[in-house]
Symmetry: D2
Subunit: 290 residues, 4 copies
Amino acid sequence: VDASTPDLWLTECPSAHEKHHFSLKSVLFSGRTKFHQVSIVESHAYGKMLIIDGCVQSSESDEHVYHEALVHPAMVAHPRPNSVLIVGGGEGATLREVLRHPSVQSVVMVDIDSELVEKCHKLLPDWHRGAFDDPRVELVFADGADFIARTRRSFDVAIVDVCDASGVAPAASIYRDSFYVSLRRHLGSNATLAVQAMELSTMSCHDHINVLRGLRSTFVNAVSYATFIPSFWSLWGFVVASDAVDVSHFTPNEIDQILVDRGITLQHYDGGTHMNLFSLPKGIRTALGQ
Amino acid sequence: VDASTPDLWLTECPSAHEKHHFSLKSVLFSGRTKFHQVSIVESHAYGKMLIIDGCVQSSESDEHVYHEALVHPAMVAHPRPNSVLIVGGGEGATLREVLRHPSVQSVVMVDIDSELVEKCHKLLPDWHRGAFDDPRVELVFADGADFIARTRRSFDVAIVDVCDASGVAPAASIYRDSFYVSLRRHLGSNATLAVQAMELSTMSCHDHINVLRGLRSTFVNAVSYATFIPSFWSLWGFVVASDAVDVSHFTPNEIDQILVDRGITLQHYDGGTHMNLFSLPKGIRTALGQ
Amino acid sequence: VDASTPDLWLTECPSAHEKHHFSLKSVLFSGRTKFHQVSIVESHAYGKMLIIDGCVQSSESDEHVYHEALVHPAMVAHPRPNSVLIVGGGEGATLREVLRHPSVQSVVMVDIDSELVEKCHKLLPDWHRGAFDDPRVELVFADGADFIARTRRSFDVAIVDVCDASGVAPAASIYRDSFYVSLRRHLGSNATLAVQAMELSTMSCHDHINVLRGLRSTFVNAVSYATFIPSFWSLWGFVVASDAVDVSHFTPNEIDQILVDRGITLQHYDGGTHMNLFSLPKGIRTALGQ
Amino acid sequence: VDASTPDLWLTECPSAHEKHHFSLKSVLFSGRTKFHQVSIVESHAYGKMLIIDGCVQSSESDEHVYHEALVHPAMVAHPRPNSVLIVGGGEGATLREVLRHPSVQSVVMVDIDSELVEKCHKLLPDWHRGAFDDPRVELVFADGADFIARTRRSFDVAIVDVCDASGVAPAASIYRDSFYVSLRRHLGSNATLAVQAMELSTMSCHDHINVLRGLRSTFVNAVSYATFIPSFWSLWGFVVASDAVDVSHFTPNEIDQILVDRGITLQHYDGGTHMNLFSLPKGIRTALGQ
């Protein structure tokens, strides 16, 4: 036995026919919340990682790639986002990115799993970086669809950052078309909506297409985009929707100017990245029926 | 024991801290050539796969993504490619893509490993699709650097498609700057050169940067580009170099028009994909020092 | 990537919570027969291996441990075995061991899976070593229970060497009590019966106990025994039954004398091994209710 | 992704060509002491497990098999063990078993790794069951060979329970012949010595043979014995040595009577188990040169 061989591993099974293994330095938490099997580990390759129901949710080394790609296209495309809704986003990093935009005055974050948020708050401080303590933030523990059904508030931007829909509850209610229809009633006329929309490749885009279809049938514009996330070992898809604007039409210079105007400097997202996100390869366009 | 669980697996270790596993239907060949440990397998997820020295080289389901991205930007950027050099490319799929361009009158393919080429010819017919039998093709079994040192021929386009440089021989001689200097002497004034240049992500771009630096110090223009390849589970990098042209400056419309003019329709590459390939995300641009 | 890392692996899952991996040099066959998923591989650690429905059946390096332990206690305990029945035993190694006993004049081997026997005959010659060509052997391709229901022959020794009963068909019919009752009608008064009876440890003996119970309710004597098989990574159980004799009561000297008298020298089985086989540790005796 | 698939695994590599994987409920500790890489985990299959330098040391479900087999043959073979030395044995379970013998008045346990003992004391209470608090026990944190070189005490029974010798320090000093010679000077004329002696199978017995040879050249009698340990997935070897007695010659009845006389009832060890331990299969006897 070679004592230097790592003995603790995280296994992710994207399908019955593929497995990913990450070696671990330590396991900070592993257990069930009311809604999910949750592990928070420290890996050698990607630093700390959050795993929900066997899927890597985000990793210290590249969570900014995911969260910047999810949040900023929709935020930048709104001329002056004031009130923002986040559905899911338990780690607090989506919240952190939203709060970078200086026009934001209130954010409601609705997550169903208070135990998960508490674990992330305590064990993943580099994700939220104090965002939960920002006075502009209201944290609500509820099902996102229930919240939307009951609230009277309206929002300029909504970000949906929930687990993969491939499992059933609790995220299933979020990926139904009826949710988008309800949500749209709470969005202003210039509003934009971004939804994390699962893996997007020529090999695997079924779940993504379901999200895209639902948003296309609800909003005037709904556009897919994608970015590669190293610790996911895959190209990750998002959909941004709006009745007012086609986000994919912004030029790199326009994006860069908006970021400058708002005083925002990011690691992953800028005008050039915007081009990359929205210029999908032909094979994927074909798979999406474009 | 669940009899439906796959029992044969391919393991790839991108580092000591990560492993990928692919389940197999069958193993068509596994053994050593004079230069490499070679396995040719049939996987459930990606169809047939060629593995050299433990690394996935190409897979039935997405080899077109790799080979189109490697070949066409350099070919399209030359106004009328007549003579082409391929270094490596044992599967014959790089050759297949080069031969699509109707102006091509001769292709010299130089591969060091005749046993590997023979195995691919026999076991991977969907890769070469008869390209080895094209009368325009001359197949030379030799070290690429030796061939360049001795030949008097010159080429319009050169494509370097050899294994990762991280292992030592035989590919190491190809990734030295001196090789690029030698090769440049055999290229015409409008010539373009494309080199497969390993993984390219914020997490892993050391080998890529070495290729980019060598080409930048040899050619007027050398530009990185990247595409996601599902069976590599990573973003794959290439460098295209030329004294005459900056390939990244072609617009999507220009690319699409050239492909139409040449009568070429592809699965992965077109004007939109060209934008995607050359608009690298900010994190990668930063890592590349741009 | 370290090119010296093995890339082909066999995975065996004894439960949802444990996995064994064996690195492979090559895969000689992998496919489905009418009855089973069969792989024949060459491993680094154990030489050639036969895997049926995801379970290691026997390995070049230690198949003699399994087959000698299965066959010889029952053969030695019969004063002069003349006619022998083998149910299963597709590799031909059980047959090989039976034929060592010089009094044997006829062996009927009944295996349901002719394709499996053919593959073993061709690819595993070190298992059968020509036993199938012995003129004393009659090979019948049939379900063992059906054969017993129809045959008029009787036997001195019967050896049941079929796959684990945990899967359903085809072996399930063999592990029913009714099979033992039928079989007993075809056994002479001095007859002995040996049955491979799955893993036998304090952690895992449920399947073994089922076999033991069935044989105890059918025969005057039925005794469990076990031996460690390296490529199974476990202690393997057998049951030997007889109306005439308690096989566990033979002393080491008696066993050694019988083997000398018959001119048989083995690698694994002798008087000392007999003691080891039949002196089960207390924990296992407790689990078996003794 | 199937959320019910375990995501945390322990990997043990008995060689470059074999791997064992255990799924984990949780990781109680993982880190380095001054001497070892230590993980304490809770597995689904075997309960809590202690892993040192990548090797499973003992598991909740079967540590009694290991510790009873290590301790009791040597203790039973001494007519009235009064003073006992344990070298290693960090978990405290060897100590627990020694203390069962009512004649014992003092036990010195010498372990080099105080951090390891502390972790086991805190996290593995079912191993020691309070043994460290027994007034007969003296715990010394020192190198076993150094302790023996300096002490003036003598012992009736010595138990050596240190990690595999395959790694270098710190256990290497314990497996040298000079250690046995030194130790013998501190043993009474009726004394017995038991040493954990690594895997013992026809496939793997090199390390065991080294221990056996060293003890044979030092003591009048030195005998190998072995037992199967489920969570080790292998047959585990021990050597018991004595100038006064050949422990393998005790009959089952003698062992059972001694245990009754001492009022000791065990889960794994009794007269029948003693027979099993000391009746090695022929293949192993051959490998040991017997």
